[in-house]
């Protein structure tokens, strides 16, 4: 005798309490604190803030803890929280020329005013497992120098003085908001950059890499990569002036790309741009390369049918929360549709069998 399964509700509850137990792991091992994640898993925290589109290190650390270190799941938690927040206004555009840089390098010039500042980078480390770290993570203090004061002009600005690099047309148009309006095509550059900065690091990296390997190659030099803190300012109507409401850490990458020009138009380098929350330079460089590839139409280049040139392809698929949700939804029951396919295949098979029998 068949008894219909009626355990959905209890099964879900039990699964969730098991999950909570697994998240905690062995209780003999001390529990991770939010501050520990924030301080010692800072690059994971940065990625979650960047792709979650919410700058809050403590919330990102909490999300990482809750997600058991699954960063896409953590991004999802942050995004779902973010939508519930009221919006009381928009900040002024941040001025990265006033950034207090921890890192600032240029690959196009041997030196730059202010010098090349390596900052806290993995570059030039030898990727050898440090077994000492397994026992004791304490480190001697790093050498210190006086921070540089004053504005830090962009390297591309030096090129631009001679007209060697194409100038971005200034615009006072309010940028569209991906999270408040449905995505429609064609998208302008502001919208594309918005989608890329919160897009999946792996996806954007793969696309950028594909341009380097010849799928819409646009040979990029890292004109400048800088990481540091900028002030966030907001204009308060009651006061009639802008006041600083906080600061955020950003990674900014400007690429200098292959030049455009003709017999009549003087040759000029072109640009790609990446700007991402936190210390996230792999993402910022990738973003700049993809941004540049997407500008083919505006720069009068050929459509080579490369994935990185196709804005509908890139923008529709770079969001890992959309992607992971839709991918994983195939775990949900689909037995009604499968049943209809089953009936169809049986019917088609019966037709063919009847045909074979008739032929014999």
């Amino acid at each position: 005798m068949y008894v219909a399964v009626k355990g959905g509700e209890r099964a879900i509850e039990n699964a969730h309490s098991w999950l909570a137990e697994e998240r905690r792991g062995d209780v003999a091992v001390p529990e991770l604190g939010i501050a520990q994640i924030r301080e010692q898993m800072a690059l994971a925290v940065n990625r979650v803030m960047a792709e979650g589109s919410l700058y809050d290190t403590d919330l990102a650390a909490l999300a990482i803890k809750q997600a058991r270190g699954d960063l896409i799941e953590a991004v999802f938690l942050i995004r779902a929280y973010r939508t519930t927040l009221p919006r009381f206004g928009a900040s002024l555009p941040v001025d990265t020329g006033e950034m207090r840089c921890d890192r600032r390098i240029s690959a196009t010039f041997k030196d730059a005013p202010g010098g090349q500042v390596l900052g806290p980078t993995f570059d030039y480390t030898h990727r050898l497992l440090d077994f000492k770290l397994a026992a004791d993570g304490e480190v001697p203090p790093a050498a210190q120098a006086k921070p540089q004061e004053g504005p830090v002009p962009h390297i591309a600005g030096f090129l631009n003085r001679d007209g060697l690099i194409q100038t971005e047309a200034p615009s006072d148009e309010a940028p569209p908001d991906l999270t408040r309006d449905p995505l429609e095509f064609p998208a302008n550059r502001a919208l594309r950059l918005q989608a890329l900065t919160r897009g999946d690091e792996g996806f954007v990296l793969g696309l950028a890499y594909s341009t380097q390997r010849g799928y819409a190659r646009n040979h990029a030099f890292v004109g400048e990569l800088r990481i540091g803190r900028v002030a966030v300012e907001m204009e308060l109507p009651e006061l009639g002036l802008a006041i600083e409401i906080g600061e955020v850490e950003l990674t900014e990458c400007e690429t200098v790309n292959q030049f455009a020009g003709s017999k009549t138009e003087p040759a000029q380098f072109t640009r790609g741009y990446g700007l991402v929350f936190g210390q996230t330079e792999r993402k910022a460089i990738s973003m700049a390369l993809v941004d540049r590839a997407l500008r083919w139409r505006e720069l009068g280049e050929d459509n080579l049918a490369a994935p990185a040139q196709d804005e509908e392809f890139v923008l529709s698929h770079c969001d890992n929360i959309q992607a992971t949700g839709f991918l994983e939804h195939i775990k949900l029951p689909h037995y009604v549709d499968f049943q209809s396919e089953l009936e169809l295949v049986r019917r088609l098979r019966a037709d063919t069998e009847a045909l074979h029998e008739a032929a014999e």
Binding site: G8, F326, L332
Partner: protein, 290 residues
């Protein structure tokens, strides 16, 4: 959950969604873009349906949530609990008692009435998507009423298989104008798309809402010599004996034994309560004891 607004979404967002719903009802079958929000459940798991339901719910509503026709499938349970928590509305498993029904992949067997709203969860709203992947192109095709490609696809099915080989998400034409994807319901359900109830379709990830107003004319695409057939398994329900409902096939033992049962669990229970018994059914009270 006092930290969240009634039915989770803030009132501004609900207003935006309601505008899209009204536009969708005014242009039946047309996909209205809307600024879908990030919900606390994953994209692809009913975020579109949940947003449409949230925008329609009022405190007096009685909500039913089904997935595959059943009230107790895991995702139906999860969505029902979401609204119990965030809206505090009454819930029910009885189709006739519900004022708003959110569904995935089925239309209830019981004909719906003018006092009811049926909300569908939609994965891919675009009926032309698998013929043309670009949104820029498909929107153009809709505006020009250029639907030849769909008919070519159906014709190719017949040329290859001898019949139309689409068994679910079977495309329909609405009021003689827009070709519409009825969401992945089995084509058995297509005739029920002409209904007294308001039918709303929400696709969260794809940011689209579309609708069928009551009594709207909905035709499943076909050819004169290959007319549309709303097919189902050629059996009766083994629990309630119904001959006219959509059936699930359940494997019951390791030897491949199987039985057929109504996919609409509420309808099946109702019939058994009324004394109808199928081939393998025990009377209702005894089953609970088992």
């Amino acid at each position: 959950m006092s930290d969240y607004n009634f039915a989770y979404l803030d009132e501004q967002t609900k207003r935006m969604i309601r505008r899209a719903i009204l536009k969708a009802l005014a242009v039946p079958g047309y996909q209205v873009p809307f600024a879908s929000r990030e919900m606390p459940m994953p994209y692809g798991w009913g975020t579109g349906g949940v947003q449409v339901s949230a925008a329609c719910l009022v405190p007096e509503d009685r909500l039913k949530v089904i997935d595959q026709g059943a009230d107790d499938t895991t995702n139906a349970v999860s969505i029902r609990r979401f609204f119990e928590k965030t809206a505090g509305v009454a819930t029910t498993t009885k189709t006739t008692e519900a004022t708003l029904i959110q569904t995935r992949h089925r239309i209830p067997e019981e004909p719906l009435t003018r006092d009811q709203i049926l909300v569908y969860q939609v994965p891919i709203p675009e009926p032309l998507r698998f013929l043309e992947p670009r949104e820029t192109e498909t929107r153009k095709m809709h505006s020009l009423e250029e639907y030849g490609l769909v008919h070519v696809k159906l014709y190719e099915d017949i040329a290859r298989h001898g019949q139309i080989a689409t068994s679910y998400a079977y495309p329909v034409k609405v009021e003689g104008r827009y070709v519409m994807d009825p969401s992945p319901i089995p084509k058995f359900d297509n005739p029920k798309l002409e209904s007294e109830a308001i039918q709303l379709f929400g696709a969260g990830r794809e940011q689209r809402i579309y609708a069928l107003p009551p009594y709207c004319h909905v035709v499943s695409l076909d050819f004169e010599d290959h007319p549309f057939v709303a097919s189902k398994a050629d059996h009766a329900c083994d629990l309630c004996g119904s001959n006219s409902t959509y059936l699930d096939e359940v494997i019951v033992d390791d030897a491949g034994g199987r039985m057929f049962v109504c996919s609409d669990t509420d309808y099946c229970e109702g019939r058994r309560a009324a004394g109808h018994l199928g081939r393998l059914a025990a009377p209702l009270g005894q089953e609970n004891a088992a």
